[in-house]
């Protein structure tokens, strides 16, 4: 089986559970006091997909706003971006919208966007209705799923969905049409920085 390396970056407000999701996905482990990500962290995990092996190179970014300026380093060249929000924090959903926008503006053209509403184990204090989020995701043709890193709900599924969305190598061009297209690609020359 051929191994395909897929760069995935996680974006989203701080504290929504990006690192927790990665940790759950890669190590099947949950830590309440997981150290906040600073800059970014890098993890890999290989999952089978069809007749391919997808090796996810996961870049988990820092959520604080001032780290946004670093984000381009991580989502550049990414095959997929997981934008995570916290269903118990409306703010985080607003931030998500910002990220979608930024990806539209500066992200790779064919990037697969997945929206993950995390902490769905805390449904009783939910602030973001699933319907609203789902509709938003549909509006941008993004994958939508509600997860719980804590209870290991839908984390695997999230990445499986991404795997499926990734166009096969041969007909990447064809598949890319089906996926969400960034309306505008940022000029690569501008990004000489990181």
């Amino acid at each position: 089986m051929a191994i395909r390396e897929l760069k995935v970056c996680l974006l989203g407000d701080t504290g929504v559970g990006k690192s927790s999701i990665v940790c759950r996905f890669v190590q099947d482990h949950f830590d309440h006091n997981i150290s906040p990500t600073i800059g970014a962290s890098f993890l890999t995990k290989t999952v089978p997909c069809g007749n391919e092996l997808h090796k996810f190179l996961i870049w988990d970014t820092a959520g604080q706003e001032r780290f946004h300026s670093l984000a381009p380093m991580y989502y550049r060249g990414s095959a997929a971006a997981v934008i995570v929000y916290d269903i118990t924090k409306l703010d985080s959903f607003q931030t998500l919208k910002k990220w979608v926008k930024e990806l539209k503006e500066h992200g790779p053209e064919d990037i697969v966007v997945a929206i993950a509403g995390n902490k769905n184990d805390l449904g009783d204090i939910r602030e973001v209705p699933m319907k609203e989020a789902k509709e938003f995701a549909e509006s941008i043709a993004a994958i939508f799923i509600e997860t719980s890193a804590r209870n290991a709900v839908n984390v695997e599924e999230l990445f499986q969905k991404i795997s499926k969305q990734i166009p096969p190598l041969e007909n990447a061009e064809v598949d890319s049409n089906e996926s969400f297209k960034l309306t505008r690609q940022p000029a690569p020359s501008v990004r000489r920085c990181c």
């Binding site: 482990h29 830590d31 970014a40 993890l43 090796k55 190179l57 001032r66 300026s69």
Partner: protein
Amino acid sequence: MDGSSSAGNTSSASSGLLPTHSDKEVGQHGPESVSLSGSQNDQSLAENQQFPMKSPAGIQRTEEEKLNLNKNTNHRDPLTDKRKPSPRHESKLDPLKPVLLPSEQQLGNTARTEKQNTLTNNLKTEHLSSSIHEANPDKTKLDPLPKQQQKAEDPSKGSLLPKEAHDSNKLKPEQLSPTKPGQPKPDPLCTEQKKPKHEHHPGQSEEHQTQRGLCPTNQKRDEEPPPSMKDLTVLGSIFSKQNQKEQNQLDPALEKFTLSTPERPQDHQDPPHLNTQQTPHHPPKHQLNHQIHPSTMAPPAPPPTIEVFCDQVWPFPPGSSGEPKLCGFLMKQGGPLKAWKQRWFTYEENKNQLFYYRTPQDVTPLGWLELSGATFTYPLRAERGTFHIRTPERTFILKAVTQELMLYWLQQLQVKRWQHRQTSTCPDSTNSSSNTEDFLPVLKSPLGLVGEGAASVSLSQTLFANVSIKHPLIELQNSLHSRKRPSQECQSVFHLEVPHGTPPKSGQTNNTSTLRTPIEPPTPSTPPPSATPAGQVTQTGGRESPSLLDSWSRKTKIRSSFTMPVLRDDSASCERTSRLQQEKQMLMEEVKAQKELVWILHKALEAAQLEKRTCAEFLAEKGEQERLELLRHRERQAVDLRGRLEKAEAEVEALRGSVAQRDAQLSELQEKVTKMIEKNNAKQEVIIKLSDQVSATMSDPRQSGSSSSSGLNSQTFRQFQQEIENLKDDIEAYNTQNKFLNSEIHQLTKLWRNSSEQEKNLMEKCAYLEATHCQVESRYLGVLRKLQETKSLDTAQRDAVQKLIEDALKGELKSVMRVNTTSGHDEYGFKIIPDYEVEDMKLLAKIQALEIRSHNLLHQEGVERPLLSRWAQYLAGRSDDALFASPELKALLRASVPQEYRQRVWRWTVRARTRTIRERHPQRYQQLSEKTRKSPHPASRQIELDLHRTLTTNQHFSSPSCPALQQLRRILLAFSWHSPGIGYCQGLNRLAAIALLILQSEEDAFWCLVAVVETIMPQDYYTKNLLASQVDQRVLKDFLAEKLPRLAAHFENHNIDVSLITFNWFLVVFVESLPSDILLPLWDAFLYEGTKVMFRYALALFKYKEEDFLKIHSSVEIYQYLRFFTKTVTDSRKLTNIAFCDMNPFPGRLIKNRRTFHLERLQAELRELEEQQKEFVTESVQRKDKELDGMVSEDDDDL
């Protein structure tokens, strides 16, 4: 002290032992066996104590002896046998012997005993002493004989009996006997020396002998009275055992001995002697005798022989051979009632423990004290003799009978503790027991109260008075044991019981009986009546088990019956002398009277003759006339005579008158004289008083004023004097205690130094071993890891490898952390083995931990110690504020700050960096804290979010309740107010946490954060967009290309952007990227030198692992490796070296230039980006509109 070899010692020993040899004529005196009996008891006791089961050899021996005795019909043999070995052994084994010299003991003892036993009057003591002394000669006499016999027998018998058996039977009695103070031990040498003299000077005076007995030190060899043939033979027999055979053959005395044996049989028949052995009665008093008190005599029984005995019987450690066994009775305070209980204490050399038993015979100790960790002291304000032994577990309060005994015990315990230390740990180090002036002089063992001999010196307690309540089980065991003891042994213990005259049933009894027999003096001299010393009775009585008591009472009874005739004898002779003297007196008077009569008769005769002559004259005259004439003439003559007579009478009268007058005058004068004397006395008293006062006032100046009016003050004055006396006593006591404590301190210090040195050595050794172990283990794990990755393994092998790995990981905590900390955290609370997220990294993590540990351990000696001393030197005498920047300090900081100085150095650095701010706002932190309480900063939400996720692997931050978290919150909140431009940036929590960990002070940590963010880091490092941070990443990339071009190219080839990883390092100054043993040294230098250190370290890290990177050719793997490789750096020294040496030159200017360059470019890019964004926004809006239009149009189309 005596030498250790018997041969060498004989001469030296002789001096000490000599007195024992002052022998008297054989059998002159009654039973001298006081000491013997006591000793035998002691012996048996000791035996019991030491070997509950009597050694079969011993029994055998006794049997054999019996046989021998029967053959020879010499009853003395056993005794001599017993006695003979003792001297030799003593000299050989007992180094303390000289200490025990009787004279000293006597003196010491007498003083004490006089005080103690006021009951015993002088007469008694005299008797006792004399009897004891006299007893000695008997013994000595006896000794030789048995010895010879032994000699003769031993070789012939084939020495079936172990030497010990002999000794056990024979040696002990002497030494153990408590009642034998001055009892001399037969010294082989002495006897030898004396032997010829005996022959030459027979019949020496008794006095000499007694003197010798009293003052053993005094060597009087010449005065030995040659006792008998037996004695001679005995003397001959005293050679060392090795020589015995030849001696026997050569010794003519042997023959004599055999010949002489027949003489003795009658001894057997004398029962009283056997029984009376315990009571010495002996007549001749010596002037010195009064000094010896019965109780004092007890001590002399020298423990050494016992020691010898023990050594021979037991496989004792060689170390013990030289000294007497340390054992004896002490009172022990214990139980809930804090009652004093008498306990038998025995020091056990091998374990360095002091065991205590209820009685010396007990087998199971009630408990023990571990001496190796014990300290000794004694309180002044307690009962005399009380001392404390403090072990880590508890304090034992013990009491010796006297203060001296206590001191002796303490000293001995010290010595033992030290010796054990020496022997057990470093046997070659010499015991330099320095007895400086400040220490107590080495005390001599108060004989009889310490040592095996003391076993019999019970303190007159009823048998069960000291039963341990706490140890009922042990008591039971002990009592069972004593009951279980074979009857034979019991017999051996109480052999005295055997009624004399009955045919001996066991060898033992036979022996004893024979032993005793010689003691009896064949012809009782006329000694003054002897009395058993009260002290002796008490001494022997208390400790004995009932049967023993029985025997005792029986003995005493028999003795009394025996002694009676002797008493009568004595008194009769006395009376006779007095009667004769009276008679003589009378006769003298008679003679005198007769003489007077003769004189009167002479006078009468003279007168008669004169008359007769005149008558004849008268008759011869012829005529009447002539006769008349003659008559007249006679009458005239008569008248004349009468007149003369009258005159003479008158004269006499006158003279008488004058005499009377003179008498009157004389009496008058005498009266005057007495008056004068009285007056004189009175004056002298006054003078004394005055002089006393003068001296008092001299010594006490305050009194000078009042002393003049001494009459009134004399009372108070005396009180003062009394007080002074008391105080002097106190001072004396304190002095003694002080000396003792000095020695104790000295000893403890020595012990401590010793053990700390050992500890150091061991630690070094341990560290080295651990290091090698760690290396080996890490290599092993490395191999496992490689194997794991190898693809060529089949499944079975794979499983095996997997299993090995699992096992290795299981043992993880134990192996790496056992020495350092049990918690698995280092001194700052960091985990020693970092948690790696990925399972397969655990192995690696452990390998690294092991390697780090081995590096650290190996560097401890060579690097860390010198560094520590360098720091100590640097910081010595400097106050924190006095630290100033210098190349020296810089170098030291680069070498890292030892843990013990880190806080101080960091504090200084931080304060130096923030001085201006702090001076401007002295109460800055307090004000900020106040502010945070009142108005929450917008950043507080993010702070709260991150707070509990700060340094979660560190102990001090691991739990939400940690106080450090509260401090951290306040620091971060204060900082967000202090620096509104930054507020809170994720990552600052880590900086503050590290600062808090090291500085241990909230405010210092705050200022540290300020120092890092505002003074060390470039501007805008943590502000929006983290501009300066991004600039630094570009600068780093430049340096990487410059310093590590190969690696930079390699990264370039694989499209690796290291800043994805390194950004993190710089933003939080490597916190959580590096293990703490690298991180903190980095910070040491970073706080002082600034950001350059970060570049140095970052490049050094890449350099350190350059080869590893170059081997990886997949970008993903490179990224993976980048993510954790910093934690795989195990050799922090090497890293430091690379950072500060290999990376040179590293001019600070260069960094600055690069920063400005990249900053400008980045700002330009950002501006461009912003413009593009704006453009995009407007564009997208337009497009949206268009799309909408399109949709509409589509709709329109549909429409």
